[in-house]
């Protein structure tokens, strides 16, 4: 059985996750070896996902950690339970 390009595209995500059944995986692999377009699609998708997962894409704003821990400290010390501090959700 020979796969057409558009069928290979349906398998790209699972191919990247290595979750295709062995037979299908082999068919996709064989197609990729002979198809520049499909292998460029696979490589670019993989590359884009690696870039997307990089910590540099979404960086923490300056002072985020300090503000977070300051707010947590107030909670941890039970400030929210004080009667003079109305609790709200």
């Amino acid at each position: 059985m020979v796969l057409e390009c558009k069928h290979v595209w349906d398998y790209i995500s699972e191919f990247l996750d290595d979750s295709l059944p062995p037979g299908t995986k082999e068919l996709v692999q064989r197609h990729l070896e002979n198809c520049e377009i499909c292998s460029a699609i696979l490589d670019s998708t993989r590359n884009i996902l690696v870039l997307t997962a990089d910590d540099r894409v979404f960086e923490l704003p300056a002072g985020y950690s300090e503000r977070l821990h300051a707010r947590l400290a107030r909670e941890l010390h039970g400030e929210h339970n004080r009667p003079d501090k109305p609790t709200r959700d």
Partner: protein
Amino acid sequence: MSSADAKPPERDEAQMIAAILAGDRELYHRLIQPYELSVYRMALSFMKDETEAEDVAQEAFLKAFRDLANFRGEARFSTWLISIALNEARRRLRRQSTVRMESLDEPPEEGGKVSPALLSDWREIPSEALERREVRALLQQAIGQLSPIYREVLVLRDIEELSVAETAGALAISVSSVKVRLHRARIMLQKELAPKLKLVNPKKRRWFSWY
């Protein structure tokens, strides 16, 4: 995908949680430290505004603290935290949905096929390219443009690096829905980004310092 795990192997989170619940509340600061970025990222990918994302993240960490006794240890602590952040982000978006165009209740499986951008070759873009603001902005925009049902799956699976099963659990959808949505989300990202990234990919020599 590569998994850059920030937490040192000797951390025993179950023990830390038990100690916090037994009264060592200060330990909570240390417990959450490795997850400050991932919770914020989760929030930012939904809120699209840094201030609001920070607020969601803070709220998620507070909720997790108040709810710590209910953490059963069936999921990883990080997964549990991220689900709390996700729910907090969704709750706020729902509240704002009257002023927003995008709906959180789209039909779960939109029909139609998603096709990738066709390329005849691909030159690897090194992660150093992310030092450039325009490259980071391209990625942020592309993720932001995905509709929520695709964005949440992509963020959980490919950015927060949850497994398919964990993603399904966090979103309360089936494993097969995760796979379908993830596939579409990844192809949509490729379609949007591959042509643009190809243009910003500089000539090789620019990556070296002898010029």
